[in-house]
Symmetry: D2
Subunit: 348 residues, 4 copies
Amino acid sequence: MFFASDNWAGAHTAINERLMRESIRFAAAYGTSDLDRAIEQRFNEIFEREVAVFFVATGTAANSLALASVERPGGVVFAHSEAHVIEDECGAPDFFSGMRMIPVEGAEGKINPLNLKARMARYPQTAVHHGRAAAITITQATEVGSIYSLDEIQVVSDIAKAEGLPLHMDGARFANALVALDATPAEMTWKRDVDILSFGGTKNGCWCAEAIVFFDPAMAKELPFIRKRAAQLFSKSRFIAAQFEAYLKDDLWLELAGHANAMADRLREGLRASNTARLAWPTQSNEVFTVLPKEMMKAAQEKGAKFYDWLEPRDMPEPVGDDEALIRLVTSFATTAEDVDAFLSAIA
Amino acid sequence: MFFASDNWAGAHTAINERLMRESIRFAAAYGTSDLDRAIEQRFNEIFEREVAVFFVATGTAANSLALASVERPGGVVFAHSEAHVIEDECGAPDFFSGMRMIPVEGAEGKINPLNLKARMARYPQTAVHHGRAAAITITQATEVGSIYSLDEIQVVSDIAKAEGLPLHMDGARFANALVALDATPAEMTWKRDVDILSFGGTKNGCWCAEAIVFFDPAMAKELPFIRKRAAQLFSKSRFIAAQFEAYLKDDLWLELAGHANAMADRLREGLRASNTARLAWPTQSNEVFTVLPKEMMKAAQEKGAKFYDWLEPRDMPEPVGDDEALIRLVTSFATTAEDVDAFLSAIA
Amino acid sequence: MFFASDNWAGAHTAINERLMRESIRFAAAYGTSDLDRAIEQRFNEIFEREVAVFFVATGTAANSLALASVERPGGVVFAHSEAHVIEDECGAPDFFSGMRMIPVEGAEGKINPLNLKARMARYPQTAVHHGRAAAITITQATEVGSIYSLDEIQVVSDIAKAEGLPLHMDGARFANALVALDATPAEMTWKRDVDILSFGGTKNGCWCAEAIVFFDPAMAKELPFIRKRAAQLFSKSRFIAAQFEAYLKDDLWLELAGHANAMADRLREGLRASNTARLAWPTQSNEVFTVLPKEMMKAAQEKGAKFYDWLEPRDMPEPVGDDEALIRLVTSFATTAEDVDAFLSAIA
Amino acid sequence: MFFASDNWAGAHTAINERLMRESIRFAAAYGTSDLDRAIEQRFNEIFEREVAVFFVATGTAANSLALASVERPGGVVFAHSEAHVIEDECGAPDFFSGMRMIPVEGAEGKINPLNLKARMARYPQTAVHHGRAAAITITQATEVGSIYSLDEIQVVSDIAKAEGLPLHMDGARFANALVALDATPAEMTWKRDVDILSFGGTKNGCWCAEAIVFFDPAMAKELPFIRKRAAQLFSKSRFIAAQFEAYLKDDLWLELAGHANAMADRLREGLRASNTARLAWPTQSNEVFTVLPKEMMKAAQEKGAKFYDWLEPRDMPEPVGDDEALIRLVTSFATTAEDVDAFLSAIA
């Protein structure tokens, strides 16, 4: 019953096997091998256009270097107030980009367009004292399990484009969102005017595979230097490439995300049917938030369930009672139906 | 005939197998798993004292964050003029530490103590305008295949201690040096007053396993934040831990380094016996530098040998002739005697 | 009728005359002259204890370097949401300190202690992912003309001390606050556990005189390097010292601030007596915010009055009407009663 | 007998008087006043083309922000090994630009073009590991009193242009060089393909007046933000402008530099005629380096002469003897013939 995070899971067999095959050969280092080249080509296919791809060690690195690539002195970056770049990266985005992250409120983890415009109005391009708008970043799927619809992405893009700002997408759970929307990678990104993507594989079955994807390669021309200076250029880069090869082959990545999402559906269904627990807010990806009596939470923990308490957000539809707890449950490629059912039983 | 670099090799079977076992289980993320804890304990044993250990993605990260941990405003760091932190890291050490790297000359890739003292004299602790000495870093084994003897390390340490400076060791090829000196890890580090070590596993059979080791854990108290802010905290950190477990088990790491060194010995012997090629300078680790006629170099390349040209250093005992080339040959855990012999034949 | 800002005023005669006398002599550069030493001593007297003083070029520099001196990796700094460090310094505090400024709400420009505690609770010292509390900064007088009472300062200090955090005070208008409170410099700072002060002279009659004051000199030991590296060490530092000498002599600074405050009182009184304009919120220092019909605002502008529109804050006691404008009026040492009366007539 | 540095002098009367006139009026802050605009226009006239001008607090700021404006990730900047940016700015250029300063040797404080090319060859634009050439900076007049001829500037410019690099000139003693060469500001800068100039007034009669001048205003578009974020935007910016107005009016600046140079000539002449002292190397600006018996040096000091010892450079034409001292003597607008003669007597 491991629901603490999708990064508590291990790595998928197909990915391991690919790594094994990779390990017995020699190849050029620092991202210059044929395999690196081939995987970059693979990303072109996945995204139906020529893209520039850079492997890095962590999702934090992907986000931070993506934002560093659009750095402007005195610039600020708009992100949802609960975004990973604001809440969970120890200031790395500010450190690497030299820009301040500006929180924007919005229900269900999604930037509210009106709030975004209001915040941006304070940071015009001439604002030497105040600072100026330099980029917008959204998270797909969000930190709280929701998903921007394609239209919702476009609304944010339009705001970005109207101000000439690049739009970044934190796709730590990109595959989960993609499957939930039944969209293509192109549809969920550059066809909605997303400029840069943090493409995460680690939470979905790789053990370490994160990439920054630029939909306009010209925007990436400084990235090789930004990445190396950030100590993010692996010597054995091809082991990242190998993971991505297996990950993207025969739609494995979509299959794994589909499984994780299905397990979350099963959880949601069980919680909806529960007499005591309730869904904290609607979610569509592999994250489920539930409010349940504290004693039930403890009961589940005693039976070995792993999950995190969650801070009650301002905009809870129905507040958390004194005897209740708000918890986050995350499913992954490795979650089984038995685990889900065991958890549901544990809190029944 | 892959002699371009030891990071062109893959990963050792024992390490792969350990990764496979790790991949099928769940465990806590971000370095908090039992395995992470166990490996930290293992480092204590290896170094015969309580140390603080931090896994990072690359050797550049290990060096840069080690230096960041001893950051002082206006500080400068003394390194050999050919050191990786100066020549090969795209300014990452400066970027992360906020300090300038000051090159110190010295024969065979080793800091000359007299030069070091002379350089340091320009950077006293009161030098607000000039900048002040903040750290010294040495590379063991060096970039050009030589090794500091234990006494030579102590000489540099004494200079550092006399000025109250921390001493860092870049141990990207730590195991190769250790085996060549037949010393213990403790003898080559803290017993010679080394304060911080970049402990590299990637070049010696891991696919990605680098660690920063603090011999005084009190010096490491900011490192968790420095590392996270640097985007170097792996969510699936335990996959690094797993590599180190296999690497350090039953002295595998020493065995692999011993093999690489032995292959280099075989190369050196062959080159010494050669009528045309000659050793550029004496080396003791898994790097060999040879001067040979350009046409022989091309012949070897045409037969598939991989290696790098090398820039002629100032202090070559015997200059490189116009028709000659200076090349670097690096052996690894995966180099075979057949490869070595094939290369020797190719240039015969 | 110059009410745009107190930094639109020139420099006081006594300060100019002191600069003239300074200009005809030679003296040691970079803050090492006898005059620099003497003024440092003068600060000791003003603050009734040994302090460490550093002159810098701007208030932004004073704030930024003060915060840089308490830098911690992954640290965050709490400031009122309208504080200069957040709104008006183009990210300089983040740039120099490497820390993110976290806005805390509070009425009348003052940090609300409950909000502060709530924000701080999110940043415990162990929060590697989230970031950790590193400092608190308050502005005295605030950006919106209010003043923390001595007790209110103590409340914030107590919160800071309970978490072991340093407390910084942005004193760009320190003298105005001091006079309004009729307190001593010591009472308004270290006796209320303020650790570091940005001591501003520029807005109160100097043309360029800003200082960072550390009440515990031991906290300042890195500042000489931080300042020099920040390009803030004047070669002719003694011209700053000379300004401070005249400024602090015979209580000139208090006299000038007293005048500015009195002019603001006269404005407030006139506005209160006005039939049409009203005070936007209570203020005690040399800033006055008033709501008046837009046509009156224009009338005043046409008669030559200079002032700034102001963005309506969330917590306005009485909202600004559609036909009304919210404006800021700042008085200074150079404001005359005639100017004030002319403005009041202009809007009558 | 103040020969320690030209920044030990005070400020010229005409500049003081202009400051006095400025002090009694109100004007817009932060560089937006009419006077700021007028002085920018004045720079256009001085340089015979449209330039972009930015006032800053110190020469270190001018150099650092000039280099920050041409920042490239992983970039390096080439400077003479004795340049102020390398020796005297506590790492500020690295801090603000994020780039490493690479020392280039050359006789008499001037970059040797062959050495420059050799150094640059190590930093091609594709050098992700090594770092890439991003800018070149020269100092005019140099730190050791010499001056680049117009042709010598062009030689360096040509090397810069061939690699597509911007060329910066540190003109802390720009006027002294200009007068010595009898060239126009245009001839010594953009007509020799200099792109950015640190234009210093402080060492030549202002008390604080430094400017960054861009000969192509398009290169300056980020500078307003870079400057503000660097805490270098004065609120009472017009007091810098006022100094420059007086400084540039009726060729005062050239007259002051001419006087300083003439005083240096007088010194040189006296030293050449001396039996015991000798000129250490030829100089043309307001700096003179002399070797004299230690006892004479002490005699001069006892009579009140102020000057600095100097570290013996590698390439001294005639080495400094054990009983000798190498000292630097700097003249300024405020140096008198009596001072010079008194010094010459003191060492006779």
